[in-house]
Structure formats: structure tokens, C-alpha cells
Symmetry: C2
Subunit: 335 residues, 2 copies
DNA sequence: CCGGGTCGGTAACGCGTGTAACCTGGAAGT
DNA sequence: ACTTCCAGGTTACACGCGTTACCGACCCGG
């Protein structure tokens, strides 16, 4: 006794074989109904009964170790960093991949650099890695993955790197689109909100760069403005708004925009008369604001299309032909 | 040639051994710096150099197959179903678990029932399964997991089942708290929003039940009201609000509450004069509404504490001693 | 009575690891 | 000079699985 607590002794296919009175091979044939080998109906029934009785579940790791390939798709992403927009998209993609036989898994981890992150992912030997924050994936990191046998390295990114299959996801264009709109509305001193939350700067920086590139072609100027997703930070920012001298702002998000909108109102700054506000993601909340928020909608490629492309990439090494993310301006009353 | 595309041939510890001119065992000793065995500094250096040169990364599956234990923690949860409140909590928990040597992974999957879900999870042979929607985990499903060798089956749930270690997460109390508040404000005809989005009813149902239990002790009545998270659904609901005869509503969420709030205003229903509205989660948006939303804040147990408890459970089978979720009413002007 | 074919089953190997057990040569102790 | 010991290495096995090759029994035609 006393042993009951230490090792519950997971049930293996050998246990099933023993109970059914057959060899382990037969068990394998039955449970995978291998077409290459015939097995009598009576023993098949015995095996199935034994497996059911013992509650046998195959060991995925052992299986893919033997097979030399796994059906795991790893998506490095922290839950809190993805907005509502992408989160539903992720869910749909995961559903599509499931139908293709893949098991999609999310992993958020804080890593000092891209290579050590890739190392951690590579340990799991996934069939593919789908990086949503693809710009943080270096060619060197991708090399680690491919050397570990990862078949599909797919990244949503603005710039393409060696050994990485890229789906266009250029947040530069998002910032540029917002800036162009604001300039066309006669604004000249544009602020761009840079969120302080961890993980968000991967998107925020290119957006800022996009806005700046527009400014460099016009008479407008662009100023990065730091802000955290708290009432205090927003209020503090609104308080010193006059001294910033901005007549427009591109908030990172509709949620940041909404927060800032309220803070500005509380501070007596009128929107859109004194300052135009543009959000992003076209979340439901944006239309509910007072005034309703102008925002940038991000049209994502169809999940089914991405899933198919990934499958082709893993199976046959075919590079994906998928349209990228398309930013679309949705104008409302806040600008 | 032509072979380059088919099998990139993942690098193994045998490759490292070959390049370093030593046996595979020595490589293992060096890379894990096994204390039980000594190895000279020169060969150690050679091995490390070879591993680095080849970009070797150990195969987690093979490792845990051999070790008989894995460091994987599986959290079944769909990204879109978790609100902002829990998502940051999940991130923190994942961080704590990482420090304890675990790799936390999220998996969303649509399964016909709890047992088939458990079967899918069991295939991965995780060290532990942490179910946030713990009420959907049956004793039979937990049995599948333990039989597959999963050491820690941890569930945030209201009712405890056989073989499942439970951290109290009783959404009944959430509904009850909201209902008690509304009754104390003189309301009698309470509506409870039931969101139509998939995966959300696991929380919505017990909250409804909690509200109903309060009603059964008083003269108040409770009516479930279906609503989807779209403007159309909210508008349609607000349109037929008068005929529902409700003077209070507990929305599933602050986001649902905000959506409903706007729809009600557009339909000419005054809040809180004609109807009280109570949200949930105490999200930032709730305080920004007009009028500011009364809401129920959910105090979660400290992630570090949960991580430690899980570690103890996996390592020594010690049942977790962790305070559960505590609902707290945050009163504002909407009720 | 014998050769060939089919059906139904088993033995054995390898996937990539970690580790217990086993060698070997040289230094130290007797 | 013979044993003892240890540092520093290797060989061999097991983890759970899928699959290839093999084997016995039976049936059938010649």
C-alpha cells in the first residue's frame, strides 16, 4: 500500500492487449483500423471492449514520435494581448485546422529574444508555428524551428525574412491610413497612442512608423504619446493635452480610443471640434461612443483559406498564396 | 537532389554526439548537466559547441515519454470566450507556472460532450488540466484523464465531482449578489441576459439560477432574456422591452450591459429611472458608461497561489487549499 | 498428397531520450 | 607488484506506439 498515491500507472495499449488476450500489434491494427491488415470481427470486438473498459487513450507524443510527424499547430500569442477582433478569428482558424486533423494550441511566454522563444517552441516539435506577431520572428529563429523539423513556419508580418512564409500583415499601412484620413480632414499635429501594456508594442511601433511616413510627405507632424489602459493614465494624459498642441490622435485601439475620449471630455477638450480621434479594430464599442468613433477596420484573410494554405505548406511545402490583412477606414463622427 | 524538399531531417542528440566524437549518453549528461556523472571540461566544451553549431533542441515528447511525466499544463479555453478579466489572470498564471518549470498551453475545441473532450486532452498526456469552465467537467471525464496519467485535474467550479480537485468558482453567487442588490433597490421584475455566443452559457446558466434562488425567497420574479452581442440583437430587445414588463436587468457582462444600455436609451427607456442595469466583471468600460454601470467585480485567487497549489498537486498529490472566486458588488449610477 | 493462396495473428524494430550498469586506464595505497 | 579506486567514458534498455516482415492454419485445385 501507500503506492496508490505515487503512480496511478497510466493505461497503455499493452494493457489493452493483455486484457483482450491478443498482441499489442493487433490492438494497434484495430484501434487505427489499419486497412493493410485484416483482423477478425470477434477479436476486433474483444479489443474494442477491452479498450473501452480500461478507458484507454493513445499517447499522442509516442505516436508522433514513431510517426516522425506531429499534428500540433503552435500559435504563440498571449491571451490578453490579442484584441477581441483577432480572438474570434483565432477561434475560427482553430476550428478549420481541427477539421484538417490538427490540434491548435496557444502558448504565451515571455522570452528574452526571438531565438530562445523559437527554442522553446521547437521543443514541442509542432507541425507548424503560426506567429501572429510575425515581425518579432527573426530568420535566425526560423532556422532553429526548421532545424528542429517544424514543417510550416507561417508568420503574419510586414517584412519577410529568410525561411519564413509570410502572410502580409503590414501595420504600417494601418497607421498610414489613419494618418492620411486625419490629414485629409485638415489636421496637422497628429498624436499616436503608444500603449504601455506588454506585447502591444509589436503592433504599435509599425503603426507609428506608417503615420510618420505620411507626415514626412506632407506638412503634418506626428508625435508618439504614451498611455496605459487605465483611467488614471488617460486622465493624466487629458490633463496635459493642451500643452501637447495636438489636433488629432490615432489611438491604438477602439478601447484605448474610448477611454481617451471620456478623459478628454472630462478635461473639457471637445471632440471632434478641437481634436479628432480615430480608433482601430471597429469593435462594437466604437459605434456606441459619444461621438461615435471613426475607426480602422482590419479585414483578415478567411480562416479556411489560411488553414488550407497551412496544410499545403506542411504537407507538400507549397508556399501559401493568401491575401493579407486589409485596413479599411470606417468614418464616423469623431473625426 | 529533390530530397531537400521532402525531409529536412530534424537534428537529434545522435547528430550532436557524432559531431562531437562522443557517445549519445555523454551528450545527454552534458546538456542536462547531470550531477550523478562527471565529464571532463574539454569534452563538455566540445559537446556544447557541437550542439550550438547544429542548433540542437531536445525533443520534448521523447523526453517526457522516457521520463514518464510531462511538464505540460493544459488549459481548455477558447480565446474569444474568456473576457478581459480572466485573460489577464490567465496570463499571470501562465507566468507563475513557467517559473515552476511548466509549459502552459491553451486549447479551444468544440466537443460533443465532456468525455470526448477529456479524451482529446488526455492524448497530450499533460501533467495537469486546469479547467476554467469547470462545471462542464464530469466525474467520468476526470476518470478518463486520471487513467491517462494526468496528475492534476483542477477545476474552477461551483459543484465538486468525483476525482476532481475544485477551486470554488460559484457563479450562482454572482447572480444571487446581483439579484439581492436589485431587490434591495426596490426592483421586483428582474431580467437576466443569456448571451447567445457559444461557450458562454456555462457561466450564464448558474448565474441565472442564483438570481432565481433569490427570487424564490422574495416577492421578486426572474426572467431569462436571450441576447446576442450585436447591435441588432440589442436594438431588437430594447424595442420590445415595454412588453417584457421588467424593471431591472442583470446583463451577463459589462460589455453586454453597455450594449443594452445604449439600445435602451435609443428606444427611449430611461436608466435607472425605469429600469436598473447591472453588469459584471468591473471592466474599465463600465465606469465610462452614461450612467456609469453598477457591476459585479470578481475577485480571483492570486495566480501565484494557484500555481503553487497546482505544483503541489502534481508533485505530491496534495489537494489545493486556495480561496475561491469572490463576487463583490460595485455600485454606480445605473441601479 | 502436395503446392499455393488467403486469412488472422505475432515478433521485432525504431522513433529520440534519460539513466543504470558496465567497462578502462591510470594514479594511489598497501 | 598487486589490489583499490576513481574519473571519464560507453553500452544497453525502456518509455508507448506504428508498421514491416514473418508464420501457422486452413481451404482449394490439381
Amino acid at each position: 500500500m501507500g503506492k496508490e498515491r505515487t503512480a496511478p500507472a497510466a493505461v497503455t495499449s499493452a494493457d489493452v492487449a493483455r486484457l483482450a488476450g491478443v498482441s499489442r500489434a493487433t490492438v494497434s491494427f484495430v484501434l487505427n483500423n489499419t486497412q493493410a491488415h485484416r483482423v477478425s470481427d470477434t477479436t476486433r470486438a474483444r479489443v474494442l471492449a477491452a479498450a473501452d473498459q480500461l478507458g484507454y487513450v493513445p499517447h499522442a507524443a509516442a505516436r508522433s514520435l514513431r510517426a516522425g510527424r506531429s499534428n500540433l499547430v503552435l500559435m504563440p500569442a498571449s491571451v490578453s494581448a490579442v484584441g477581441r477582433l483577432v480572438s474570434t478569428w483565432i477561434d475560427d482558424l482553430q476550428g478549420e485546422l481541427e477539421q484538417l486533423g490538427y490540434i491548435t494550441v496557444l502558448h504565451a511566454g515571455r522570452f528574452p529574444n526571438a531565438v530562445s522563444a523559437a527554442r522553446a517552441w521547437a521543443e514541442l516539435r509542432p507541425a507548424a508555428v503560426v506567429a501572429l506577431e510575425g515581425d518579432s520572428l527573426t530568420g535566425q529563429a526560423a532556422d532553429v524551428l526548421t532545424k528542429a523539423g517544424v514543417r510550416g513556419v507561417l508568420a503574419f508580418a510586414s517584412r519577410r525574412a529568410e525561411g519564413i512564409h509570410t502572410i502580409d500583415f503590414d501595420h504600417t499601412r494601418v497607421g498610414a491610413l489613419a494618418a492620411e484620413h486625419l490629414v485629409s480632414r485638415g489636421r496637422r499635429n497628429l498624436g499616436v497612442i503608444m500603449p504601455q501594456e506588454r506585447g502591444l508594442d509589436t503592433f504599435a511601433r509599425p503603426r507609428l512608423a506608417g503615420a510618420q511616413s505620411v507626415a514626412s510627405r506632407t506638412t503634418a507632424s506626428v508625435t508618439p504619446v504614451e498611455m496605459a489602459y487605465t483611467r488614471g493614465s488617460a486622465a493624466e494624459l487629458a490633463e496635459r493635452w493642451p500643452e501637447l498642441g495636438l489636433d488629432a490622435v490615432f489611438a491604438y485601439n477602439d478601447e484605448y480610443a474610448a477611454l481617451l475620449l471620456h478623459a478628454l471630455r472630462d478635461a473639457g477638450v471637445r471632440v471632434p471640434e478641437e481634436v479628432s480621434v480615430v480608433g482601430c479594430d471597429d469593435l462594437l464599442v466604437s459605434a456606441l461612443q459619444q461621438p461615435p468613433l471613426t475607426t480602422v477596420r482590419l479585414d483578415m484573410p478567411a480562416p479556411a483559406q489560411v488553414a488550407d494554405a497551412l496544410h499545403e505548406l506542411v504537407e507538400r511545402g507549397v508556399p501559401p498564396e493568401v491575401p493579407g490583412m486589409e485596413p479599411v477606414l470606417v468614418q464616423r463622427q469623431s473625426s
